[in-house]
Symmetry: C2
Subunit: 510 residues, 2 copies
């Protein structure tokens, strides 16, 4: 029961507004002619194969016959310059909406049905409401492994796929959630120094103070093209790149935006989100790091085990041999949190061949698993091999090659990194033991201090859980790039105190 629907041609301008999604701005008269209303979804057809949906905004400021398109339309069309003309067509009924409703009522979806849904997500045909209903359907009914496999494949196939002239291709992936986790900056050069091919892509921070891509970016450019990644890995075995510039699994990025609004992460999407990117990157052997502990993404070891089993079984169906390392995530990894501060710690550890116990122990353990898997280290000796590569400087030399291949300065020193000039140290007022360091409080302080946008902002820990402190001993230091942000961070630190120091006697009862 819709009114008449017309396809019309418009002259295109780039809009100056940013709505955070593909939008088109149109004159009210043209809008009515095409049969659209504000907030409707319409197809923008640039040429035969180049089309995307956009949300309608109406404005008297637009001339008739013209249409303004936002930057996000350009991105969705995957073009660097907007064409002179586009056709606009009301979107009509969604093919995937009935499938999403069927899933909500418990139906198992076929591969073709899943692909239909993912295609409409990538085309931006589905808005927040439809994607939210998909999340709800998956929260209520989940997906069996076959469905998750098809979801992973569909998400991968509708984006860029990297092909390798050699193999096997390794990857190490952390599911995240613990601040200070710069581990990949050690693990990757260690295993690459033994000849393992490891094209590591990672994300920028979304809700954390620093993603691996943010940290690496302070050492070298990370926004690489697919062909550059293949070239660099061919030359130096490894890369530490930002996944976001590769257009891998674009559906995933769109779903994640809605998940953030809803603060949900249904397991099928969590699994497919990671595995689709591994398919797109052509990974054959995958090691997943699953930090587990208080205030980590996963708090209980049993939950980690259940999820690990799902990853391993899914890996089998996708022909990606998958191992999972459940690691301790109850406090920050290493001592520095924030992009430049984490790069500082990683680089210093690589140069000296030693560093914070939790960082070195975790990085060499993960590297050891890969070295054994690759048949480079005998069973049970992987960690020792990794430690030797770190201590001998072999891993540092490899890191210099990686930095150089990505276009950075291989001779960069930790002190060259832009650490924030506005600082404040907090000291202990009592003596006792550090019984607890809050992941959430540390992350929150670092974020308010400016991380990850301000590369030099963050937190440095002078103590870790279990250590003994006396009154006046430094506990942690906040770094910021402006006076204003430092003082905001101080307020958050005082309100949300991150470190607990207690005597050995915690409580007397009775």
């Amino acid at each position: 029961m819709l009114g008449a629907v017309f396809k019309m041609k418009f002259k295109v301008k780039l809009s100056k507004i940013n709505t955070g999604k593909p939008s088109l701005i149109i004159n009210p008269k043209d809008c009515e002619k095409v049969g659209l209303h504000p907030k409707d979804v319409a197809y923008i057809i640039a040429s035969g194969s180049k089309k995307t949906c956009a949300t309608v905004i109406v404005s008297d400021n637009i001339e008739e016959g013209y249409i303004e398109l936002t930057e996000h339309v350009k991105r969705a069309l995957k073009i660097s310059e907007l064409p002179e003309f586009v056709e606009v067509l009301p979107a009509g009924p969604s093919a995937s909406l009935p499938l999403i409703k069927a899933k909500l009522y418990g139906k198992k979806l076929t591969r073709h049905e899943i692909k239909t849904i993912v295609k409409e997500i990538v085309e931006r045909r589905l808005g927040d409401a439809e994607i939210s209903m998909l999340c709800a359907a998956l929260m209520v009914n989940g997906m069996d492994l076959e469905e998750v496999r098809n979801l992973s494949l569909s998400i991968a196939e509708l984006g860029e796929i990297i092909e390798w002239p050699f193999g096997p291709i390794y990857d190490v992936h952390s599911i995240g959630g613990v601040p200070g986790n710069k581990t990949a900056l050690l693990t990757v050069p260690i295993v690459a120094s033994f000849g393992v091919k490891i094209p590591k892509t990672s994300s920028r921070a979304i809700t954390s103070p620093a993603g691996t891509a943010d940290v690496m970016e302070t050492l070298a450019p990370v926004a690489l093209k697919p062909e550059e990644i293949v070239e660099i890995v061919t030359k130096v075995n490894a890369v530490l790149a930002w996944g976001g510039s590769l257009n891998l699994a674009p559906a995933d990025d769109i779903i994640i935006e809605v998940e953030r609004v809803l603060s949900v992460d249904p397991e099928p999407i969590l699994l497919a989100s990671i595995m689709s990117k591994k398919i797109a990157m052509g990974i054959n052997k995958l090691l997943i790091d699953m930090p587990t502990g208080t205030e980590a993404k996963i708090e209980k070891i049993e939950d980690a085990e259940t999820l690990a089993t799902r990853f391993i079984e899914l890996g089998k169906l996708l022909e990606i041999q998958t191992k999972v390392a459940i690691t301790y995530g109850g406090q920050p990894i290493g001592r520095n949190v924030g992009p430049a501060l984490e790069a500082y710690e990683a680089l210093e550890t690589l140069m000296k061949g030693k560093g914070s116990g939790s960082l070195v122990h975790k990085a060499t353990s993960l590297a050891g698993i890969i070295l054994e898997e690759a048949g480079i280290a005998p069973h049970g000796q992987g960690k020792a091999f990794a430690m030797e590569a770190l201590k001998s400087g072999k891993a540092y030399e490899k890191m210099k090659e990686i930095i150089s291949a990505q276009g950075g300065d291989p001779n960069i020193k930790p002190e060259d990194l832009p650490i924030g000039d506005y600082r404040e140290i907090f000291t202990s007022q009592t003596s006792g033991y550090v019984t607890y360091i809050s992941n959430r409080a540390i992350a929150s302080i670092a974020r308010v201090a400016g991380a990850p946008a301000d590369k030099g902002a963050g937190v440095r820990l002078y103590v870790k859980a279990g250590e003994n402190v006396k009154p006046g001993d430094p506990l942690f230091e906040i770094y910021a790039e402006s006076e204003e942000k430092l003082s905001e961070a101080l307020i958050v630190a005082r309100r949300n105190w991150p470190i607990r120091v207690e005597g050995m006697l915690l409580k007397t009862l009775g």
Copy 2:
């Protein structure tokens, strides 16, 4: 783990763009200062109690220190002029999102919890994603009667409520879905002519060719203020007004927008949507018309009975005495479809005291139920009383009073109504019986011809189901206000033929 959050004051301008929802347009630097991103939700605080949320759009065209607000912000703030300054504050976590998730997992919601959700809907704190998840939760788990009662009350209480200095107050409400249903234009004056107080509010068409408000608007103004409604009903017992201008149950309008995108209508919302408006209108005795039949909203009589039982029980909890009339909805009501065409038919029927069988029979049956309920007609004689009022011209006199009280011309004649000048008659090519008239096809033709925006557009039926036709007999006529829309409607009519004519012998087998 959010960054710093600031409240900032901005000088206000009215935006020229229409996004179909409350939006704010802000300079990128200011946006960052407040801690916002495009697509985020922020509170706009106009004064202590006047606040609403709006979606963030970023534009270089806005000066720093200024903010542009869309027309929908003004509406949400319920103010006629935007203030000179407003404060802007990132929305922070939603209080109702955890409750919506709990409902998705089957939790029963308390009255307070339901009110929290409805409050955030009215404040526009919840976007499409959150409201969609609420719909999904209600589709999967439903609500028990106590929850629906609390939902109805919460929706009503967060909008305008009308109070009456007298009672009881009656209402007749059709759940809709059948084209040509101008019945209220007869039922209301009939019962009002006996002294029944009946302040009938109705909606404009959303997906149909004409809502009762669209039809009545061709006879008199329908956008009345609450105090005007009380005044008119005091004087003439009845009103036929548009509910949309009254700010009754504003949450409902917002939810309905998302339901349209998803093409869903979960039962708890269907029930609460109707009952909340009855609470807001101060209705004591309600008659619900439930058209049932092929291509009506409800197709099976058993489904109608189940829903009717829910309405009746809910009515008890809300102290609104509710009766339900299940009526035949398998073809259009009367012969005219479209705003002016329906007003024409209703007015002519009132003036002549007779008209299309289905219209007269339905209107007098519904009126009869109310007259018996009100103790005006003895049991079993309501319909006869109603018919007498129609035939005698008593109902027409009352309709003239209503039109006049609403500010229309009481002496308006059917031929004064602006029926579209572009017309086309379709005739039968065979002889036989009309076995089927498609509600959907008729509605679709009328919409494409321009209804409801073009008041004179629509369809006139020359036959109804069961009638005998010969070749060359007229079947239906399309009316439009422009050549272009008429020809579009012709295409739809040919592709989507609305009337089936068959011989008595339908099929020979074997």
